[in-house]
Symmetry: C2
Subunit: 128 residues, 2 copies
DNA sequence: ATTGACTTTTACGTAAACGTAAATTAAAAT
DNA sequence: ATTTTAATTTACGTTTACGTAAAAGTCAAT
């Protein structure tokens, strides 16, 4: 298993190193360190970063993303903990589903507006 | 046709009046005024506000939303303008489609993680 | 007519999510 | 060995999207 440096990840995702360090400040990602203190990122860290960026694109706050990440990498073994995690996950799943439906409606509207514009353009072309 | 006051809209959408005035500051919404200067919102204004809030839920910035709104209420008649508007709309439509696909993938992943957790819970229940 | 609820503008404050710069140290390249 | 490039921490700055408060005018109800 080999590692990524911070600038490699920054380049891959087209974000700044500051941004990556900021996510670490906020507890979202935890790279290991070399003896001299340099950060090294595993594939898993990379995957987490990808998750963070995806969450951001959907308008989730870093705090929300933080919670969702704990859902993913969490080793909760207790029954109570498991139930809590499942309940939280179900709620988030519901939110995601709602967003999808919402977005699909938006898509519909945009398509109808677009076809309206296209029609107008057709008419203009006709009278040229 | 009758009007809404700012606090009526604020209540309907569960946002502050400050927020609505801020959207106006940014040029996203333009209510008419009474002689004394009070803002009055039409149904159309209400629809625009709804659009803004939806855009926000999807993580669009007010600036992006502004652009998308001009797409909706815009009376562009020139051929060049129409073509530009259509091109912009198609691009946004593509973005929305990508987001939907992205979200559906996220949904899949969450579902699989959840079923994994549920399985674990089952096993725990079994050994009780 | 006056109280109370609502609205307006102006303006300063704030949290989130970084940007940017400085000083220092380490790694990579020549 | 020494330049160049990349990394680290610290810390102050900035933008977006509002919150909050003050001062003053207005509308609605009693």
């Amino acid at each position: 298993m080999n590692y990524y440096t911070i600038s490699q990840l920054a380049e891959q995702f087209d974000i700044s190193t500051r941004t990556i360090r900021y996510y670490e400040e906020r507890g979202l990602i935890s790279p290991i360190r070399t003896e001299s203190g340099q950060r090294l990122y595993t594939k898993k860290d990379r995957a987490v970063l990808k998750l963070i960026l995806r969450g951001k694109r959907f308008g989730f706050s870093l705090e929300e993303i933080h919670e969702m990440i704990s859902l993913f990498d969490n080793d909760r073994t207790g029954r109570k903990q498991l139930e809590k995690t499942i309940a939280y996950g179900e709620q988030k799943l519901k939110e995601v589903t709602e967003r999808i439906e919402d977005l699909m409606q938006l898509k519909q509207e945009m398509e109808s507006i677009l076809s309206d514009f296209r029609e107008r353009l057709q008419k203009l072309e006709g009278t040229k």
